[in-house]
Symmetry: C2
Subunit: 267 residues, 2 copies
């Protein structure tokens, strides 16, 4: 099936998921929407995240996508399950694949989750992980400053190290050996987080597992695209084309030269 | 005139302006709208801030307000002048009063402005100050992490001190003696900023000057409310009633027990 895969996020973070899709599913066309006007979702109510996610799915459906990826942890946590019944094409979020990976990995039976306030408060990672293995203790910690630190470019910085220590010291007593990076921005803080948590803790990046899960679903349903000479990647945002383009060109292995603005409130 | 004054901001920050209005105009009724669903405005494009401001003004007009205060530096910087002609009641922003105060205060003829990316990039403070006194040098610095630090409650914290130093060290060589807190959240960082800048630098809080300017306008136009026994304060937001209420009750001298949610996109 040549139809594209629709991927959305509250902003630029979901591009880390697109990168994994490009790697693992190189024949697939992708249409990405980043809600850069209304970013961040992490501090918004369930009702608002649900409303925004519905508008975005309506927009993606106008592009005739064959599957939809919720590449945003907050939207996956607060909106996906409620919307699943209304969507008659495959949908996948980043939470379930990340939860599965963490449950599979942990030996100490103690898993840490870091994410936005919305994701952590929802308790959804805990729910999924304990459904897979009720013996696992799950410790969640919201890290609201990580996204602004990433967006300010302070990836390797003393202030970021301080903030990492401040947030993650709460996880230390729990002897976690797997830590889910439950927000698409966080893989960009992989280094300072790894330094603080130490070698004994595996950092789980749900983006990788999500692309893998998507591939399995499309294969099972015989919806993969055949070998293709020209794969297309289309990018839409609700605001700020220039900063999106700059970020995309840093994160993605392809050149992003066109980004279109969508009036998402009208969907 | 009993009609209320309409005040809006991208979120909770504008409540510092409401506080000043309550102090300086105790007989006035106030209707406040905080765009908590779409906060922050600081990193959004002019086009988007203009669109959101227009929706909010349309909403406030349905409440029959007699004047409108743009209690958000970014909206004042990017949208107010373009909208002024369309609004047939008095409108006032926070930028002009803050600029005037800074121009009046400076002896070294060197003024610093800190604010969001949108406010600083607009160059509007520089424009207003230099219109008042072309001899003044204006140095602007965007401080994107200040709002998340305030919202995380780190008002007195080593990490905030570090970030203050990081941002404001760029202003030091300019010998500024007045620094405009060009974002409604920043007055809450008054202490760390004062500590770093030293006693010789006056911190200008546009909220105070804005309420003063509003009072003058209403007096000139004979639109002040007469002595009143019961003054009403009404609060509307686009999302997250609980966190707004908590913040309002910390900042305001009155008890805020009711906050209503508005579907602002429909205006």
């Amino acid at each position: 099936m040549e139809q594209a895969i629709g991927v959305f996020d509250s902003g630029v973070g979901g591009l880390t998921v697109v990168r994994e899709i490009m790697r693992q599913l190189p024949n697939e066309n992708v249409i990405y929407f980043g809600d850069t006007a209304r970013v961040p979702y992490g501090s918004k109510s369930k009702q608002t995240v649900l409303k925004y996610s519905k508008q975005i799915v309506r927009f993606l459906r106008t592009k005739n996508v064959k599957a939809i990826v919720f590449a945003c942890n907050t939207a996956s946590a607060l909106a996906l399950e409620e919307m699943r019944a209304e969507i008659d094409i495959p949908v996948i979020g980043v939470v379930k694949p990340g939860a599965k990976m963490a449950a599979d990995m942990t030996q100490t039976k103690s898993v840490g989750i870091i994410g936005t306030e919305g994701t952590i408060k929802s308790g959804i990672y805990t729910e999924y992980i304990r459904r897979l293995d009720p013996a696992v203790t799950v410790v969640g910690k919201a890290c609201p400053l990580f996204v602004p630190l990433v967006e300010e470019g302070l990836l390797e910085d003393r202030i970021t190290d301080d903030m990492v220590e401040r947030y993650l010291s709460e996880l230390k007593p729990y002897n976690v050996d797997a830590l889910v990076l439950g927000c698409t921005h966080y893989p960009l803080l992989m280094n300072p987080i790894k330094r603080y948590m130490g070698e004994g803790v595996t950092l789980v990046n749900p983006a990788y597992e999500t692309a893998k899960g998507l591939k399995e679903i499309l294969k099972t349903k015989d919806m993969l695209n055949g070998k293709s000479d020209k794969v297309s990647y289309d990018f839409y945002v609700s605001d700020g084309v220039d900063s999106f383009k700059a970020f995309a060109n840093e994160v993605l292995p392809v050149n992003v030269d066109e980004v279109k603005v969508v009036d998402i409130e009208s969907y």
